[in-house]
C-alpha cells in the first residue's frame, strides 16, 4: 500500500440498474484510524457502493481507489488486502466456528494463529463454542464470527455492510465496542447501517439516501445542517399533540421521537424563547395543560429527515 495515499478515495461514483439509479455522484474519503459510517435506509445504495469498492461490481461513472489501488485496474491487489463482511452474515452453517475461521484464513494464505491476536477480543467471546456448527449460533454470535473471519487475515481496510441488522440492541453495542478497539490499531473501517443511533459512534458519517449523499460530517456537528430551529415537546397525549401542532401556521415538521415530539419552526432567524412560549400557549389553549417546550440541538436523525425531503414516491 502506498503510504502516502489515503486508504479510501471515492470520486463521483455513479451506477444504474436499468431505470433505477443506485448511486448518483458519490464522493468521499476515509482516513486511517477512522470509523466512517454510511447511514441511510434500505435501498439507499449502500450495498451497491460496497460492492463497487470491493471490486465486485463495476461503476458506470466516477472512480475509486482503495489503499492506493484503482478498483477497476488493480482488482486482485485490492482483494488480497481488504476484509469484507457482506450483509446477512455469510458463513458456512454446516462448518464449525473454528473451521470457518481456519478456512477464511487459508483462503488468504495465512493461518488462524497468525491472525489470532488481532481477533482475540472478538473471538474470545465465541471461542467456547468453537466446535459448534455456525448455523446453530445466535444472531449476535454469528455476527462476531463473521467479523472475526473478515479480520483473521489482517486486512488493511475493513468493509462492513450492515453488520448489525437483525441483531438485538445489546449485541449491537458490544459490536461497536469491538469496532472502537479495532480502530485504535490504525485500521480504517467503513461501515453501513440503517440505525441512526449507531451513526453517533462513528468518527464521521455520510447520510445516504436513494443513491445520493445528503451530508458528510462528524456526528456531533452534523446538526449544523439542520435548516430550522428545533424544539422538543413533552407531556400529554403525544398523538393528539402531534395532530394539534401540525395546525400551527409556521410548523415545518412535527415528528415523534421516543417519548417526546420534535417540532421545527419554519421561521428562520426567529427568537427561540419567543417561539417556545408561543407553542406552549397554543398547546395550553388546545387543552394540553402540562406541555413543556424547549429548544434542542438537532441530532443525526433530525438532520437526516430534514435533508432527505419527502420519502421516495410509490410510483415513478
Amino acid at each position: 500500500m502506498n503510504e502516502a495515499s489515503v486508504p479510501l478515495e471515492v470520486r463521483g461514483l455513479g451506477k444504474r440498474f436499468g431505470d433505477v439509479v443506485a448511486l448518483d455522484d458519490v464522493s468521499f474519503e476515509v482516513e486511517r484510524s477512522e470509523i466512517f459510517g454510511l447511514v441511510g435506509p434500505d435501498g439507499g445504495g449502500k450495498t451497491t457502493l460496497f460492492r463497487i469498492l470491493t471490486t465486485l461490481l463495476l461503476a458506470d461513472s466516477g472512480s475509486a481507489s482503495v489503499l492506493g489501488f484503482d478498483v477497476v485496474r488493480d482488482m486482485w491487489a485490492i482483494r488480497e488486502r481488504v476484509g469484507y463482511m457482506p450483509g446477512r452474515f455469510s458463513l458456512y452453517p454446516d462448518l464449525g466456528v473454528e473451521e470457518n475461521l481456519r478456512f477464511f484464513a487459508s483462503v488468504f494464505g495465512t493461518t488462524l494463529e497468525e491472525g489470532y491476536d488481532l481477533i482475540a477480543p472478538i473471538y474470545s467471546q465465541i471461542e467456547p463454542f468453537r466446535d459448534r456448527r455456525a448455523g446453530a449460533l445466535s444472531g449476535g454470535m454469528k455476527q462476531k464470527l463473521a467479523l472475526s473471519c473478515a479480520l483473521v487475515h489482517r486486512p488493511d481496510i475493513l468493509f462492513l455492510d450492515e453488520p448489525t441488522t437483525g441483531v438485538d440492541a445489546v449485541s449491537r453495542r458490544e459490536f461497536w465496542d469491538l469496532l472502537d478497539s479495532l480502530r485504535e490499531s490504525g485500521l480504517p473501517i467503513v461501515v453501513s447501517t440503517p440505525y441512526m443511533d449507531e451513526a453517533s459512534r462513528c468518527d464521521r458519517v455520510a447520510l445516504i439516501q436513494q443513491g445520493r449523499i445528503l451530508a458528510i460530517d462528524d456526528p456531533g456537528a452534523i446538526g449544523r445542517r439542520f435548516p430550522n430551529l428545533l424544539f422538543s415537546v413533552r407531556g400529554g397525549d403525544r398523538y393528539a399533540m402531534l395532530r394539534a401542532l401540525r395546525d400551527l401556521p409556521h410548523s415545518a415538521s412535527v415528528f415523534p421521537f421516543g417519548d417526546e415530539l420534535h417540532y421545527s419552526d419554519s421561521r428562520t432567524g426567529g427568537d427561540a424563547d419567543a417561539i417556545a412560549a408561543e407553542v406552549r400557549s397554543f398547546l395550553r389553549e388546545r387543552g394540553f395543560a402540562g406541555a413543556e417546550v424547549a429548544r434542542i440541538e438537532p441530532g443525526i436523525e433530525d438532520t437526516f429527515m430534514a435533508l432527505m425531503g419527502a420519502p421516495e414516491a410509490a410510483a415513478a
Binding site: 465486485l56 461490481l57 488480497e80 469484507y84 455469510s90
Partner: protein
C-alpha cells in the same frame, strides 16, 4: 345477499397469477413436454435401418452375386465391404464398423446346382440384443425370399443359414442396458452435485466473500470439481460392481481402462454441472437445468436404449455432442467386445476434448465480478 368470493377461489386466483407471471418456469413446463413428445416419438422406432453389412465371398458366382444384390436391393442393408476371407470380419466388428457379416461358403452356386446344402453364415453384432435379433430376422428373410424364388422350379434348394450373435450370444438385455445406465447415473449425479454446490454458494452469499479474496475463479472451480471426483469415482466402482455381480455383465476388456475412462466421463459431468451453475441464478434453476440438460439427452440420444442408426437423419448429428454417446461406445467396447485403446482412442479423444472445452467455458463464464 352480497356476493362473496370464497376464500378458496381467491386463493386459486392467486395461484393462477403466480403461474402465469413466472415466465421462465412456464416456458419450461410448456416446452419441455413438447420436446419430450417429439424426441420420444422419433426415437421410439423399433425398425432397424442402415444395417452395415460385410460380405465374405471366397468364390463369387452368379448365386452369391445375386444374393448380394438382393441384400443391397432390400433397402435396409448398407454395403461396407466385400472380402475374400473371414480374416477381416473380426477386426471390423471390434471396431464397430459393421453390424452384420454374411459369409458364403466356397462353391455356393455349385452346391445349389447339385442340391447339396449351400451354407451361408450370418454373423450379427448383438451388443444390442434387440437390434441384433431383428437384423438376423431381416437377413434370413432376404435369404428365404431368394430361396423361395428359386425353389418352385427346382428341388433341393437348400440354403442352410447359420447365425451367430457376436459379443452377446445369449442376448442378455442387461448387457445392452447396463453400460447405458452407468452413463446415465454418472452424468446425473456429477452434474447435479457440482451445479447444486456452486449455486448454493451463490445463494448463501459466501461466494461474495470468496470472490473478494485472492482466490482466482479457476481455483474456485477446480476446488469445487475435484472433491466430487472422488465421490464420482466411488459411484463408478459401485456401478461396475453391480453390473458385474448382480447383472453378470461380462468384463472382457481391461478393467483399468474401464475405470480410467469412466472417471474421465465423470469429470465431463462435473464440468457440465459447473457450467450450468455458472449460467443460472438460483439453486432451483440449476437443478432443473442439470436434470433437463443431462437426463433427457442421455436417455434418448446416446444410443443407450434406442439405436442411433434408427434416429431420423436430422437428429443423428445432434448425438455427437452428447458425452454419453461416446462413453457407451467405450463401455460396450471394453465390457462386451474386450477391445482396448487401439480401437477406442477416438471416442476417448472426443471425451477429453469435451472436458477441456467445458472447463474452459465454465471458467470464462464464471465472472470474477458479480456483474
Amino acid at each position: 345477499m352480497a356476493h362473496r368470493s370464497s376464500p378458496l377461489s381467491a386463493f386459486m386466483a392467486k395461484e393462477l397469477r403466480h403461474i402465469l407471471r413466472d415466465r421462465q418456469t412456464l416456458t419450461i413446463l410448456l416446452l419441455l413436454p413438447l420436446a419430450m413428445v417429439v424426441l420420444f416419438g422419433f426415437a421410439l422406432r423399433t425398425d432397424v435401418n442402415h444395417i452395415r453389412t460385410v460380405f465374405v465371398d471366397p468364390s463369387p458366382d452368379h448365386a452369391t452375386v445375386a444374393l448380394r444384390a438382393r441384400f443391397l436391393g432390400n433397402g435396409r442393408f448398407d454395403l461396407v465391404d466385400i472380402s475374400a476371407t473371414t480374416a477381416e470380419v473380426e477386426p471390423i466388428f471390434r471396431r464397430g464398423l459393421a453390424d452384420v457379416a454374411v459369409v458364403f461358403e466356397p462353391g455356393f452356386a455349385d452346391h445349389l446346382a447339385r442340391g447339396t446344402p449351400a451354407r451361408v453364415l450370418v454373423i450379427t453384432d448383438a451388443s444390442d440384443p434387440n437390434t441384433g435379433s431383428r437384423m438376423q430376422a431381416y437377413a434370413r428373410a432376404v435369404i428365404a425370399s431368394y430361396q423361395a424364388e428359386r425353389g418352385p422350379g427346382r428341388e433341393g434348394v437348400r440354403i442352410v443359414t447359420q447365425t451367430r450373435m457376436r459379443f452377446n450370444p445369449s442376448l442378455e438385455s442387461a448387457n445392452l442396458f447396463v453400460p447405458g445406465l452407468i452413463a446415465l447415473v454418472l452424468t446425473l449425479v456429477t452434474a447435479l452435485m457440482t451445479s447444486i454446490s456452486l449455486s448454493r454458494e451463490k445463494e448463501r452469499g459466501t461466494l461474495e466473500i470468496l470472490l473478494v479474496s485472492p482466490l482466482r475463479p479457476w481455483q474456485i472451480i477446480v476446488g469445487k470439481v475435484l472433491p466430487y471426483l472422488g465421490l464420482a469415482f466411488a459411484n463408478v466402482v459401485t456401478a461396475l460392481l453391480a453390473a458385474w455381480l448382480i447383472f453378470a455383465v461380462p468384463f472382457r476388456g481391461s478393467i483399468t481402462l474401464l475405470l480410467i475412462t469412466s472417471t474421465l466421463y465423470a469429470m465431463v459431468g462435473l464440468a457440465l454441472g459447473v457450467f450450468i451453475a455458472a449460467r443460472t441464478s438460483s439453486q432451483r434453476a440449476a437443478m432443473l437445468g442439470a436434470m433437463a440438460g443431462t437426463m433427457l439427452p442421455t436417455t434418448l440420444l446416446s444410443g443407450m436404449i434406442f439405436p442411433i442408426a434408427s434416429l431420423p437423419g436430422w437428429l443423428q448429428p445432434v448425438t455427437i455432442v452428447i458425452p454419453a454417446r461416446w462413453f457407451i461406445v467405450i463401455a460396450r467396447g471394453i465390457m462386451l467386445k474386450g477391445v482396448g485403446l487401439h480401437y477406442l482412442w477416438q471416442p476417448i479423444a472426443v471425451l477429453v476434448v469435451m472436458l477441456a472445452v467445458l472447463m474452459l467455458v465454465a471458467i470464462r463464464s464464471f465472472k470474477p465480478r458479480l456483474a
